[in-house]
């Protein structure tokens, strides 16, 4: 089992996609901080120095989730697209072990990507805020929790991505579908029917990180965490179930 997890990690490390996604996460973390600090205090955004503003700025590590989602999708659909799934299942014909190894590897990679996003966020935001004489303690409970939960969200979305990839299998369809869902359909649902919307994965992730105390239409952090774990289980189990029986031709 450990060997299979190591092999999955090596698969990630030996293509450029993984490093490209890491670069994107770092870039978006910087953008998030810039946007968070520049818009603070304008048009209804909480002013710098408030707890809500700090959450907005430091919670941007959570955007890593969208990239780990893609990472998870690529990890599975890439195997089908390039036919490497054949080798994976030849080496380990008990397929459940391959699936579990992949989930563990993506979980670990997701934590890594989440940490990267958080580190970049803190590295940019903290000195900037200090220069603006905004006092922010990195160890104030809110920022610490928001940063930590952003990392958790990144890991969780990687696992969901593996499940989605296993269910859809077609790489382009899976990625386009996931992005359309996340940025279009879910946004609409959250806006139109917030009572339903807050249970959706993206909103749950925001409940977990950024707007924990600010917006009543989001789930509380603990509830969001439970919802996300449930999504993880549903998607990964359904995906694994499908992979287990499928003919690999």
């Amino acid at each position: 089992m450990i060997a299979l997890v190591r092999a999955e990690v090596l698969k990630l490390r030996t293509t450029r996609v993984f490093f490209g996604l890491c670069a994107a996460v770092a870039a978006f973390a910087v953008l998030g901080v810039v946007a968070g600090i520049l818009t603070a205090g304008n048009s209804g955004s909480p002013p710098l120095g408030s707890a809500a503003s700090a959450r907005n700025i430091f919670g941007t590590g959570g955007t890593a989730g969208i990239f780990t989602l893609i990472l998870g999708i690529l990890a599975v659909t890439g195997e089908f697209r390039h036919g490497t799934i054949t080798q994976s299942f030849l080496v380990a014909p008990r397929r459940s072990r391959v699936v579990v190894a992949k989930l563990i590897a993506i979980l670990v990679a997701g934590v890594g990507v989440g940490v990267l996003g958080s580190v970049v966020t803190v590295a940019v935001a903290w000195p900037w805020l200090a220069a603006k004489d905004v006092s922010v303690s990195l160890f104030s409970s809110d920022i610490g929790a928001v940063t930590l939960l952003g990392i958790v969200a990144a890991a969780v979305f990687g696992v969901i991505g593996v499940g989605v990839g296993a269910l859809v299998r077609n790489q382009v369809a899976a990625i386009v579908g996931a992005l359309v869902w996340e940025f279009v359909l879910e946004s609409i649902l959250v806006g139109v029917v917030p009572s339903v919307g807050k249970w959706l994965p993206g909103a749950a992730a925001r409940g977990l990180t950024r707007e924990t105390l600010q917006n009543g239409s989001l789930l509380p952090a603990w509830g969001a965490a439970l919802v996300l774990v449930a999504y993880c289980l549903v998607f990964s189990l359904a995906g694994a179930q499908l992979l287990m029986r499928r003919d690999v031709t």
Binding site: A3, L10, Q87, R245
Partner: protein, 303 residues
């Protein structure tokens, strides 16, 4: 000799299409078996069912008496090279092999060694995306060799190889078999493997049409023609007919006489008996490719 691979009554149906129908054959230890048939005959499906990648609709396919999925660490017992496309284009050749080695618990050093065995070490650090089909075939073979298995299953390994590559593949398989290895190798071109295989299993339309040694298959070709050339073709023909041979003058060659239905040694004896001088004698018969086409055409024509 024991059966290393055993396929019994294998049926695979994809929705309405029956890809493999009641197929049974065995591969004995230490032999090289050619698994032959035209494209779409069900060869790849059969091999994938054998390797646990495709679920059989009914029937069994076993390796060492077990299904592939039951094998402990299968990479060390049976190596498979199934298709030339199974690589991530952005991954280096050596990394592709290391991934498989780590997953199978094989020392990483085997990755480099396997590349050397297939003559690919200069390309170790190149990304597979830039490889020719022939290089991919070699890399796939290296993957099969990682665990130093005693059985190889190769699906169309000669596809995309240049003549030099095919020559190399033949030599490689022969030396592998000489060391006691067992090989099941599929191809849609008999001549590609005829020099290498001991046994042939021929399928068409998902059904078995022949399973025999190559020698037995070659025997089916006897009864072919013996071609004689002589400056006195007409008298030779007459003398042979007088001795009961089915001899005719060949079209388009005034010197040639064709004798059918007689073994070459009998024809030679009769010719000596006639006393007519002959300056050339050849046997046209042993055209394996014709036999192969005949065998597969009859089945392939069925719905």
């Amino acid at each position: 000799m024991t059966d290393v691979i055993s396929v019994q009554g294998l049926v695979k149906r994809f929705r309405s299409v029956v890809a493999v129908h009641e197929l049974s054959f065995d591969v004995q230890s230490g032999t090289v078996t050619g698994f032959l048939g035209p494209n779409g005959a069900g060869k790849t499906t059969t091999l994938r069912a054998l390797l646990g990648l495709v679920n059989a609709t009914s029937g069994t396919a076993t390796v060492f008496g077990q299904t592939y999925r039951e094998l402990q660490n299968p990479s060390r017992r049976i190596g498979a090279a199934l298709e030339a496309s199974g690589f991530h284009p952005g991954r280096k050749a050596i990394d592709h092999l290391k991934v498989a080695a780590i997953a199978a618990g094989i020392p990483k050093a085997r990755a480099g060694a396997a590349l050397v065995e297939v003559g690919m070490e200069p390309a170790a650090d190149r990304r597979v995306g830039g490889f020719s089909l022939g290089m991919r075939q070699r890399l796939a073979l290296a993957g099969a060799l990682l665990g130093q298995p005693e059985v190889l299953v190769l699906d169309e390994p000669a596809n995309g190889l240049d003549p030099e590559g095919i020559h190399w593949m033949r030599g490689f398989l022969r030396s592998y078999a000489d060391q006691g290895g067992t090989v099941l190798i599929s191809s849609h071109v008999l001549s590609e493997v005829a020099q290498t295989v001991d046994h042939v299993v021929i399928v068409a339309g998902g059904r078995l049409v022949a399973s025999s040694t190559l020698a037995e298959l070659t025997d089916r070709t006897s009864g072919g023609a013996v071609r004689l050339r002589s400056e006195q073709a007409g008298p030779l023909r007459d003398a042979l007919v007088a001795r009961g041979a089915a001899a005719t003058l060949a079209d388009g060659d005034a010197d040639a006489v064709v004798v059918t239905g007689s073994e070459a040694k009998d024809v030679g004896r009769m010719v000596a008996d006639t006393g007519v001088p002959v300056f050339e004698m050849t046997t046209d018969g042993s055209n394996l490719e014709d036999v192969f086409l005949q065998l597969t055409a009859s089945e392939a024509g069925q719905p």
